[in-house]
């Protein structure tokens, strides 16, 4: 059992406490979800429970925190690690071993468990997390979902009674995320362990039942109750966390939410006939949004093929792109979706010239791209990597944004003018003389966008622009990109986020196993069960709500929702 009593914690490097007056009891066997926006203290809370605080991150505490009656501050991290197992957010970092088997064995090796028990236990746990056939594979050969199962196995092998999951859904595609939640639930039922999940993708976690949700804001617990009760309040939205879409839709339709309606899941949702009528009435007020029709292609891809050539004699070549045909229209905002390894990133790398295609053609405004080098293509197509730290190499913001222009050999006057313009567009003008390190993650992202924008490309490709961002930052980044798009920039978004694709993309291209299997509006794609299952996407819960209320035109319902949100809510 975990008990926080009047617990306050301040990192040594910070002036203000990160956790304040926490009073929390988690009973054995409970399944608890901790939600809250970035910086609300949920990671700190997790680190206090697993012992990284105070052992790795030092700070001062007041009050008490006990696990099974013992003060964690008096325990060693090793002793605590026998009770509390943690699955970290970054699966690649969590994966320490060179092979699956070694990673599973890691904790036992450190406990000096010898042969043959070591091998026997590894086999056992591999069975539980269903990774038995991959025991000798290296992490590079695994999919995101498999890595997650290995992480979980490596933690479970210790027979801990408490399992912590620190943002387990970050970087997983929708379907894999769904399976991860199912696996956690299965383990919870089988072992009876205490499960604590920290996550901001609320709707995805609620795919399986949780006992309690703890909502945090600015280091305090603002709600600690059942999902049904919490969803009936406005607290989640106020804290800057995204509610499940069906809940939002019910609110838009003016339905009074009550805990008795079993709001936590669409499967249990109990709507009265009156409620359903409300939803139908709201839907009947829809107007045709009139999506802009675009006819002028800026980029034409024809019969494109690309193969990763293996340099090792025993590995096989891998054809990553197969017969790709696509027209990207001038001024459109397009999403590229699909599982990890489906070819999304490879596709953008081939467009940018990072990789050379085997066959096929790439035409930019009718000009063949194949003759252009990486650098020359970059004059037309800007590529922004997922993590801004992957791109930033200068100390000062101005220099970072100016880098590309200076490399082109432009006069300093012209450079200054263009950089200032880009900084203003990105809302970074006030920071122009700051060092990059002083910025937040979201601001750094803007710096990388500004540094590409300054080069005045016609197309911008962004890899996972909102990964790991909470709703507030997500909205910030996406509204900013939308404003760029409205100024005429063609924007391509590579994403796992179904919400993003619904809310912002005019069209979505679905990749599966190296091929494009669909290219349509998000509302059409996310209501097509065949494509959803082939591309490991997730059906939007709006679809289910529409069905529940007897609205046959689910697609129209989804479109109306997005339209309504754009018009009335986003700017309110």
């Amino acid at each position: 059992m975990i008990r926080f009593k009047d617990f306050t914690f301040k990192y040594n490097a910070q002036v203000e406490p990160t956790l304040r007056d926490i009073n929390l009891e988690i009973e054995k066997g409970q399944k608890v979800l901790i939600i809250g926006p970035s910086g609300c203290g949920k990671s700190t809370l997790i680190h206090c429970i697993n012992g990284l605080i105070p052992f790795s991150f030092e700070g001062e505490k007041q009050g008490s925190l006990t696990v099974d009656g013992e003060e964690t501050w008096d325990m060693s991290i090793f002793k605590l690690s026998r009770k509390v197992g943690t699955v970290l957010q970054d699966q690649d970092a969590q994966f320490i071993g060179l092979t699956v088997a070694e990673d599973l064995a890691f904790a036992l090796e450190n406990d000096v468990v010898g042969e043959p028990e070591l091998h026997q236990k590894v086999d056992q746990i591999a069975e539980v997390v269903n990774i038995r056939s991959h025991l000798l594979h290296s992490p590079q050969e695994l999919s995101g979902g498999q890595k997650q199962r290995v992480s979980l196995g490596g933690v479970m092998i210790n027979d801990c009674d408490i399992l912590l999951f620190d943002e387990p859904l970050a970087n997983l595609d929708p379907d894999t995320g769904k399976k991860a939640i199912e696996l956690i639930d299965e383990i919870h039922r089988k072992t009876g362990d205490t499960i604590i999940i920290s996550e901001h993708r609320l709707e995805d976690v609620l795919w399986r039942k949780v006992d309690r949700i703890i909502l945090m804001e600015e280091g305090r617990i603002v709600a600690d109750t059942t999902p049904d009760r919490l969803l009936a309040t406005e607290l989640i939205r106020k804290a800057g966390v995204r509610e499940p879409l069906y809940i939002t839709a019910l609110k838009y339709a003016g339905v009074q939410l009550r805990p008795e309606m079993k709001l936590a899941s669409l499967d249990t949702l109990d709507l009265t006939e009156e409620d359903k009528q409300r939803v139908r009435d709201w839907y009947s007020k829809r107007s045709d949004s009139g999506a802009p029709s675009r006819t002028e292609p800026v980029l034409q891809v024809r019969d494109l093929n690309f193969t990763y050539r293996s340099d090792r004699s025993q590995a096989e070549d891998h054809q990553a792109l197969k017969d790709i045909n696509l027209d990207l229209m001038k001024g459109e905002m397009m999403a590229i979706v699909g599982t990890n390894g489906a070819g999304k990133s490879t596709f953008s790398k081939v467009i940018c010239g990072f990789e050379n295609c085997d066959s096929g053609s790439l035409l930019l405004n009718g000009q063949d791209l194949k003759e252009l080098s990486i650098k020359e293509r970059a004059d037309h197509i800007g590529y922004i990597m997922q993590d801004p730290n992957q791109m930033i190499s200068k100390v000062m913001i101005f220099d970072e944004v100016a880098m590309g222009l200076r490399n082109k050999g432009l006069q300093e006057e012209e450079v200054t003018e263009k950089v200032n313009e880009a900084l203003k567009t990105c809302g970074l003008w006030p920071f122009r003389n700051w060092p990059v390190s002083a910025l937040s993650y979201g601001q750094k992202k803007r710096v990388t966008i500004a540094s590409i924008l300054a080069m005045e490309p016609e197309i911008m490709i962004l890899d996972e622009p909102t990964a790991g961002q909470d709703y507030r930052h997500y909205t910030d980044i996406m509204e900013f990109l939308k404003s760029l798009n409205e100024r005429g920039m063609t924007v391509v978004l590579i994403t796992h986020d179904m919400h993003l694709m619904l809310e912002y993309a005019e069209r979505s291209v679905v990749f599966s196993d190296g091929r494009i299997i669909a290219c349509d509006t998000a509302a059409n794609i996310l209501t097509d069960r065949d494509i959803i299952s082939r591309a490991s996407l997730k059906e939007t819960s709006l679809y289910g709500l529409a069905e529940l209320c007897g609205i046959t035109e689910a697609r129209g319902f989804v479109e109306h929702f997005i339209d309504y949100e754009r018009r009335y809510e986003r700017h309110a």
């Binding site: 991290i77 197992g85 060179l98 990486i374 590529y383 190499s393």
Partner: protein, 275 residues
């Protein structure tokens, strides 16, 4: 992109030896070939080495890159020795059989050629063994072996970790490099070395920043799973010694013994037919 350790999984008696055995044998073998210039021993070792290579079922094609690299190095080494001291052989062996007149007052001697023959034999006896070790030892078994021969496990594990993350870092480097090239950073041979070094820094800075973050996360992940808890640890990949392991080590120790005996008994490391 190639890894330092290019483990090639095949079924062979060499693969069946434990990593620790192979490491010990590699060390004994290399010491033996380094220590002596006794041609009678050195002439046998390459045959043995290539024989073992054949036994391991590793094809020359699998290691062509490394083999080519080391052979070029061997040739270079020989050329440099010859250019800088064309009469080194005479000094070593104490006799002089002139074959031809070279530049200045330098001469080409049989002794010099004999010395080069010995150098080549040394290379040929150790290169296959090193490649064999690299290709037939699983990286993590290597870490376990280091620990077994007395290297502290924290250091052994650091080796394994480095191997674990090299592919990730290579990929990261590649991505960052391409993205920087897209922003006009010139990495090709068209520009001066200084410019290329400057360009490399624009890739290294993000790479280092990312790696630092990752190191912190990894070390946290390791602590959370009890790394460093005890004075000892076990290894999943470790395997028990068999008769063949013991025999192999005895054989290599014998080889080293022979080399040492040859040196001590004759009071010199060198041997030539004219001595």
């Amino acid at each position: 992109m190639r890894n330092l350790f290019n483990y090639i999984s095949r079924k062979s008696p060499i693969h069946d030896l434990t990593g620790a055995t192979k490491l010990v044998c590699l060390l004994l073998w290399s010491f033996a070939s380094m220590m002596t210039y006794d041609t009678r021993i050195l002439i046998v070792m390459p045959f043995l080495a290539f024989g073992l290579f054949a036994l391991s079922k590793i094809k020359l094609r699998d290691v062509s890159f490394m083999l080519g690299f080391t052979l070029v190095f061997m040739v270079l080494n020989n050329i440099l020795v010859f250019l800088f001291s064309p009469e080194h052989g005479v000094e070593l062996y104490g006799t002089s059989h002139v074959i031809a007149q070279l530049w200045g007052n330098h001469v080409l001697t049989l002794e010099q050629l004999w010395y080069h023959l010995n150098l080549v034999l040394k290379y040929l006896s150790s290169i296959p063994i090193v490649l064999l070790f690299v290709c037939t030892t699983q990286p993590s078994e290597f870490a376990a072996s280091l620990n077994r021969i007395g290297v502290p496990y924290a250091i052994s594990y650091a080796v394994a970790l480095a191997l674990r993350y090299i592919p990730d870092i290579q990929k990261e480097y590649n991505d960052i490099s391409k993205a920087q090239q897209a922003r006009g950073v010139e990495m090709s041979k068209k520009v001066s070395l200084l410019k290329r070094l400057k360009a490399a820094s624009t890739i290294l800075i993000p790479l280092i920043m990312l790696s630092m973050d990752q190191i912190e996360t990894v070390s946290n992940a390791m602590q959370l799973r009890g790394f460093g808890k005890n004075k000892k640890r076990t290894w999943y990949m470790a395997r028990p010694f068999t008769r063949w392991d013991v025999l192999s080590m005895i054989f290599c120790a014998g080889l080293l013994g022979l080399a040492i005996w040859s040196n001590l008994s004759r009071g010199t490391r060198f041997w030539s037919p004219w001595m």
